[in-house]
């Protein structure tokens, strides 16, 4: 110590970090966990929690309401509310909650880092740009699961508890578990892809949020006009413009169910088989992820 100090005028006693370095994957994981918490405003003040948690409750409301009804009155819940109808246009407000959630959380996850210029700090660590984008995307998709999977799971378990024969219900209905998980997952990754690509475009929360909401509001109307005005393939393809029809389509496909819709319903008029909606959602999700990664790879700080 004294020998080294001879060369230095001041020895402030700085020491190197000699602990274990956790590295890239741990950084990505931390960012993911942080994103998941930020999505629901955990670790922030109450004001930040109201909107996302309120929306999660709104999405779960049909499940909760029917279960409460089933607990107090003699109704067969599975007849009233089917798993495949949960996000369909029949019960429309889980859809609204989903849309608002994506629009609120996307800018929260991506916009803050841009506004406060934190990105250059992140990227100067072992975390790569792609890791950042991927972690944020994963956090978003997982957060949406809280609105898609949890109500469905509540409904399923609740149904099983309401009937007298718990084991019997599982034996009869276990085939539902796969479709419930599959459709919830696909809705989450699909909406997360749309939401994150748009959110990345603006650091301002207002513009990013409205930008995410706009397609969910306008595309369904355009889709409706297209289907009712054109009787050819172009008109039929219009059904894919409506993201809610897309999730309807692949959900019914997952459950192998036929939707209870009138002849005039756009999905019946378009008459695509469910697999096309599935394929479309997968393609849009992949395109969205690629665009998001590309955006962050090219972004100048």
């Amino acid at each position: 110590m004294t020998e080294r100090a001879a060369g230095n005028i001041y020895d402030l006693g700085y020491r190197r970090y000699e602990g274990r370095r956790l590295g890239r994957w741990d950084a990505a994981l931390s960012l993911y966990v942080h994103g998941l918490r930020a999505a629901f405003g955990l670790g922030r003040r109450t004001r930040s929690k109201i909107f996302p948690i309120g929306l999660a409750l709104l999405a779960g409301l049909p499940a909760l309401a029917y279960l409460m009804g089933a607990a107090f009155f003699e109704i067969n819940v599975s007849d009233v509310i089917k798993a495949e109808d949960y996000f369909s246009t029949n019960i429309f407000f889980p859809q609204v909650a989903l849309m608002l959630f994506v629009a609120a959380v996307g800018p929260e996850l991506l916009g803050r880092d841009q506004r406060h210029s934190i990105l250059s700090l992140y990227f100067s660590r072992s975390l790569s740009r792609l890791d950042y984008a991927a972690s944020r995307y994963a956090a978003m998709a997982t957060a949406i699961l809280a609105l898609t999977l949890i109500p469905q799971a509540t409904l399923f378990l609740g149904n099983a508890l309401v009937v007298d024969n718990f084991g019997g219900y599982f034996r009869d209905e276990w085939k539902q578990i796969g479709p419930i998980i599959g459709s919830s997952l696909l809705i989450s990754v699909f909406f997360a892809a749309i939401g994150m690509v748009i959110s990345a475009q603006s650091a301002r929360r207002t513009f990013a949020t409205i930008g995410v909401i706009a397609p969910f509001i306008f595309l369904p109307v355009l889709s409706g006009v297209l289907i009712s005005s054109l009787d050819n393939l172009a008109g039929r393809l219009g059904v894919f413009l409506n993201p809610f029809f897309v999730i309807d389509g692949f959900t019914y496909w997952f459950f192998n169910a036929t939707p209870d819709l009138s002849e005039e319903h756009p999905m019946m008029r378009a008459a695509f088989s469910g697999g096309w909606y599935f394929l479309f959602a997968i393609v849009i999700t992949l395109v969205g992820i690629v665009l998001l990664l590309r955006h962050y790879r090219r972004k100048s700080l």
Partner: protein, 245 residues
């Protein structure tokens, strides 16, 4: 001084990327009208214009979204960035600041919404004789956009989460709750706007039928506009400048 605040705000609002978003939103109804024109829909041009174009696309979607975007951007972003301090520390009466901000937000909303409604309406109605419905909606949109702008300016002054409060109002209150409890229509700017449009445009019930009475809607929309604008002035007058910005 109002004009100065107005100019300043308009310049803040109409940056390049933002204007593109706004123009993009405004183009959607026009696109819908073009698709309708070229297709052979089984609904009449009048019904399409009133029900889908002007009511569903413009009054229910474009109007609240544009007004929310511009009103929260006009005041909310200045509060968020702390730049409102530079405006408030000038010897300008607070009501003039609110007036300037509100006029800017309203004016910009009006330009987008009216341009979209007029072009879309002309495309959809070309060749028809009865154009009153378009006139009715143009006047109703002017009144409705002022009411929305005024409400959202007030929200931006009350909370830093004005955007979410506004979204909750537009989608949860005016859309979800109204569906379950139709009585809520009586407290919805969207319904006031629709019924004013119907009263002036006077289409037959088959084409477009608003749910509220005209007199009630006119009184209600005036009360809402005056009350929210008044509260906004009151709120900004009590806005304390803090040392740390």
């Amino acid at each position: 001084m109002i004009v100065l605040v107005l100019n300043l705000t308009l310049r803040q609002l109409l940056g390049q990327k933002r204007t593109l978003l706004l123009i993009g939103l405004g183009l959607v109804p026009i696109l819908a009208a073009v698709i309708f024109r070229f297709g052979d829909s089984n609904i009449s041009a009048l019904e399409f214009t009133a029900e889908f174009l002007l009511n569903a696309l413009i009054v229910n979607a474009l109007l609240p979204l544009t007004a929310l975007l511009l009103a929260t951007a006009a005041i909310g972003s200045e509060v968020e960035d702390g730049t409102i301090v530079y405006l408030l520390s000038k010897p300008v009466e607070r009501w003039r600041i609110v007036a300037g901000k509100l006029t800017a937000a309203w004016g910009a909303t009006l330009v987008i919404v009216l341009a979209s409604a007029a072009v879309g309406g002309v495309v959809a109605l070309a060749g028809e004789n009865d154009w009153r419905i378009l006139g009715g909606f143009v006047i109703a949109l002017a009144v409705g956009s002022l009411a929305y702008s005024s409400l959202f300016v007030l929200l931006s002054l009350l909370t830093s989460r004005a955007l979410f409060a506004g979204l909750a109002y537009v989608f949860v209150w005016e859309f979800v709750i109204t569906n379950f409890a139709p009585g809520v229509q009586r407290f919805s700017i969207r319904e006031f706007t629709a019924s004013i449009a119907e009263a002036i445009g006077n289409p037959s019930d088959l084409v477009f039928d608003a749910d509220l009475g005209t007199t009630y809607s006119v009184i209600a929309i005036v009360v809402v506009t005056v009350a929210t604008a008044g509260l906004a002035v009151w709120r900004l007058s009590r806005f304390q400048l803090q040392e740390t910005v």
